[in-house]
């Protein structure tokens, strides 16, 4: 072990200590404070599980998680099978389309849904115009709307992980079942599906845990008693009532514990059950078959249906962005560019902040992630597994936990929150694992002997890294960069706790304009702009490294 590696390790640990462990420990300390006294204790936690309101919130969140998981599974399973197994035209474009919801902020989808299905939304107005109904139907407000929009947002995780599973299965395992006498459906149930269970679980955990993270979408749909939403309201609006604030923090801690617990449990299960490594000599393209014409027709219809649902969001946001006062009308009546003028002329600050903060966060991410990936894959520095573990854990931590802990730790403790650097810093910590996973995956694919050959030829470690490793890792790193940037760009759950006047980002702007009520066109225009930016970035990613993206989210998705 070289001194250089040890040095890198120490620096990385210092960063983790200061920006992850220190703030998160504040969260726990704060949750133990008893209001009105100087004492610490478990009283807040006891209150949480005694208070019917918090208990109801807790169960509601679990219920929401289960409902969203069931919905995404029901809709995602056939779709994954279609994409993985049938020879169909336009599969590639459709796959790109289905990726869209992952990178779109969930709240942007929520706005679109309200415009379309709200009480005075397009569908209700049309139905009333045609005298089908006399009073508007409540399509979206409440749990069902929440389940719908979250399921739509999370569907790609299930589809990608499952279809990777369906593709990766060694074909002979299914052929063996066929020869043994198992016909289609039986074979699917006894062989195909069980073999995909690790892949499924990898996606399912992300889906199930999402309701413990997303506080904004429930509020938009008028559902308050969901754990993260309750926490947000308690912390953001009740800073005078210390007990409610502490209860909010307790909610955050409990959400985090559930997320981390389930995440770790599933991770260990997946690692124990990894089937793919077992089989040898697999064939080229899995089992892509020419479906029966009827099945083909149904598949196309199904893909079309999901495609329409996915496209609804950008289309509706686009319509509202280019129109003025689209209220009480099924379709916009007055087209204008005013909304965009407003954004570009009056509030370019938001755009500038968004780009600047995401970019700085990205630089932090690279400066941290690249050495970390190197350390984890290529060295035997003591403690590197723990380092990997903590960083991976950040995947499970709800954004609200990072936001609140930063507020606590860098306001009262180290006074960093008075400087705007706190914004990119929190973005960086929130998305810490994204770049690292991508770099990690590329590092694993890079044959060590290529680097060893360079060292044998006389190049030092640093020179080898810049001359050999970096150029070969470049594609993976680039995709990692763009994905990181996209995720940082749309981040709101952390930033909302930390921003001050002048530090607003585009997502915060969307939220504020919606919050003020009347400025829906502007919020729509901002969301639309954001979708356009993200989509362009996504196209670049798909163009340069579609395979890598697939590898990072899909087949190696067993490692999230």
């Amino acid at each position: 072990m070289s001194r250089g590696n040890l040095f890198i390790s120490i620096i990385l640990w210092a960063v983790l200590l200061l920006f992850v462990i220190y703030p998160l420990s504040f969260l726990i300390i704060e949750s133990l404070k008893i209001a009105g006294t100087n004492q610490y204790g478990l009283q807040n936690y006891i209150d949480f599980f005694k208070d019917p309101y918090y208990l109801k919130t807790f169960w509601n969140t679990l219920l929401l998680g289960i409902l969203v998981l069931i919905t995404t599974t029901l809709f995602g399973l056939p779709l994954a099978y279609i994409l993985a197994r049938y020879r169909l035209k336009g599969k590639l474009i459709f796959t790109a389309l289905i990726l869209l919801p992952i990178v779109l902020p969930a709240y942007a989808g929520a706005f679109a849904l309200i415009v379309l299905f709200g009480k005075m939304g397009t569908v209700n107005l049309l139905l009333m115009d045609w005298n089908v109904i006399s009073k508007p139907i409540n399509f979206v407000f409440g749990l069902h709307g929440l389940v719908f929009i979250q399921a739509l947002h999370l569907l790609p995780f299930i589809v990608l992980s499952l279809s990777a599973g369906f593709t990766d299965i060694d074909p002979s395992l299914e052929e063996a079942a066929e020869v043994e006498g198992a016909g289609g459906f039986r074979r699917f149930l006894t062989v195909t599906l069980p073999l995909c269970s690790p892949n499924y679980l990898a996606g399912a955990v992300i889906v199930f845990l999402w309701p413990f993270t997303d506080w904004l979408t429930p509020l938009i749909f008028g559902v308050q008693d969901i754990l993260p939403s309750t926490a947000y309201i308690n912390i953001a609006y009740h800073f005078t009532d210390m007990h409610r604030k502490y209860m909010g923090i307790v909610s955050v801690v409990i959400s985090s514990l559930i997320c981390v617990g389930i995440f770790l449990a599933s991770k260990s299960w997946v690692e124990r059950k990894k089937y793919t490594a077992l089989s040898k000599g697999t064939t080229l393209e899995g089992r892509i078959v020419e479906p029966h014409p009827w099945i083909k027709l149904i598949s196309y219809f199904y893909m079309f249906l999901i495609g329409v649902l996915v496209l609804l969001i950008p289309v509706v946001l686009g319509l509202s962005a280019f129109s003025r006062r689209w209220v009480l009308q099924p379709f916009p009546t007055y087209w204008t560019l005013d909304n965009f003028k407003l954004i570009f002329l009056e509030t370019p600050l938001l755009l500038k902040n968004s780009f600047l903060f995401s970019l700085i966060a990205l630089i932090f991410g690279v400066v941290f992630g690249l050495p970390a990936a190197y350390l984890i894959t290529r060295t035997k520095v003591p403690g590197k597994d723990t380092l990997d573990f903590i960083i991976t854990l950040m995947l499970a931590f709800p954004g609200i936990a990072v936001g609140v802990s930063y507020l606590l730790a860098f306001w009262e403790g180290i006074p960093l929150a008075t400087h705007w650097i706190i914004m990119p810093l929190s973005l960086f910590v929130r998305r810490l694992p994204y770049f690292l996973r991508m770099a990690h995956a590329s590092y694993l694919q890079l044959d060590v002997s290529l680097e060893e050959a360079s060292e044998v030829s006389g190049a030092g470690k640093l020179r080898t890294f810049f001359n050999i490793s970096l150029p070969l890792l470049l594609k993976g790193i680039f995709v990692g960069l763009v994905m990181f940037f996209i995720m940082a760009f749309q981040e709101i759950s952390t930033a909302i706790f930390l921003y001050r006047g002048g530090w607003e980002t585009l997502p915060i702007g969307i939220y504020l304009n919606w919050h003020r009520g009347m400025e829906f066109g502007i919020a729509g225009a901002m969301a639309f702009l954001m979708i356009v930016i993200i989509f362009i970035l996504l196209l670049i990613v798909a163009r340069i490294g579609g395979g890598i993206l697939g590898a990072a989210w899909g087949s190696s998705g067993g490692r999230y």
Partner: protein, 359 residues
């Protein structure tokens, strides 16, 4: 009527003809090996028998029942057992459940399943490992699970697709004999696919040699070795020397042909004298172990040539020599007591009985 009849089987993948009108009859209880280099169409033929691949033309008739022409019979309805190259043992099921899978589908009573699984595991030497997962087994053991799974239902036909290619050399050699005796004991009609000629020689009653989608020759191992149908077969099975030449004289009664080779006249046998014509360009083929070596020239021998030793390797029970006869290199398996060194001269006797003409 043969138990399995492959009739005029034809299969294309894109523009490539994988199987080109192959016909082959396999008798009940026979072990037939499809042998050939990779890409010759042997696995595709096997997969057509299994029904995992549908031929573009032709049919496979098993026990009198057509598998394709009168409605496609899916693999699950064919009553076959199959051992896959990568074993295809289901990793999520225990050894017992892997083997019992097909019996459960047939709704065999539970008690009988237990008994039959135990018996078959006993016969493949896996007794006591019922509760293990495949991940806890060695490659050889997984291979036995695959074999047990294929045998347990007493299938009409057993198909084996390069079942030994993932095992190490020692184990591979032992398993050849084990599989053969097991299959023979159960009197199971088997089709075996391999690219390993030694494996094919050990296992098969008959070998069917394929090249580029075509069935080139079918015969017992001995027939194939001694009477290869063409250069490809002679080269693929064992090693041989090819000496190019032109037909100068044909004795159709004695089935003897004279060739004009670069270094002189060679007398050869021809199995079918209708095959050759005057001045035709052909090859004489003789195996290294069939060439006799003399230090001084014996009298009254035809097909005797003088050559210089180029390479000499001592292999324990024999010598391996490369001899240069007038710019043609000839491989010879010579007795180990030949003392001549590299650069020294030898006389080679290409016995006309062992020297054959191949088109």
């Amino acid at each position: 009527m043969a138990f399995i009849q492959i009739q005029n089987l034809y299969k294309k993948f894109g523009h490539i003809v994988a199987v080109n009108r192959v016909s082959l009859d396999i008798e009940k209880g026979e072990i037939v090996t499809l042998l050939g280099p990779s890409g010759c169409g042997k696995t595709t033929t096997l997969r057509c028998i299994a029904g995992l691949e549908k031929p573009d033309e032709g049919d496979v008739i098993i026990d009198g029942k057509p598998m394709f022409s009168q409605g496609f019979v899916p693999p699950s309805q064919r009553g076959i057992g199959m051992v896959f190259q990568n074993y295809a043992v289901w990793p999520h099921l225990r050894v017992f459940d892997n083997v019992a899978y097909g019996l459960k589908i047939q709704k065999v009573p539970r008690q009988e399943i237990k008994q039959r699984v135990a018996e078959v595991l006993e016969s493949v030497g896996l007794a006591g490992l019922e509760r293990r997962y495949p991940g806890q087994l060695s490659g050889g053991q997984q291979q036995r699970v695959a074999l047990a799974r294929a045998l347990v239902r007493n299938p009409k036909v057993l198909l084996l697709d390069e079942p030994l290619s993932n095992l190490d050399a020692k184990l591979r050699e032992r398993m050849r004999f084990e599989i053969k005796s097991l299959v023979k004991r159960m009197n199971m009609t088997s089709v075996y696919v391999t690219h390993d000629q030694a494996e094919a020689m050990v296992i098969s009653d008959r070998i069917a040699i394929m090249e580029a989608g075509n069935l080139v020759q079918v015969g017992t191992p001995e027939e194939i070795y001694k009477k290869p149908a063409n250069r490809f077969v002679a080269d693929f099975i064992g090693t041989t020397n090819f000496i190019p030449g032109e037909v100068s004289q044909i004795d159709r009664d004695r089935k003897v042909v004279s060739l004009r080779a670069e270094f002189g006249k060679i007398l050869c046998r021809v199995f079918d004298s209708a095959m050759v014509s005057q001045n035709q360009k052909v090859h004489a083929s003789i195996r290294p172990e069939e060439i006799e070596v003399f230090v001084s020239p014996p009298k009254d021998k035809e097909n005797l040539f003088k050559g210089t030793i180029m390479h000499r390797a001592y292999l324990g029970n024999f010598l391996y020599l490369f001899v240069n006869v007038d710019h043609t290199l000839i491989r010879i398996q010579a007795p180990y007591d030949i003392k001549q060194k590299e650069g020294e001269e030898l006389f080679l006797f290409l016995n006309p009985e062992k020297c054959i003409v191949l088109p």
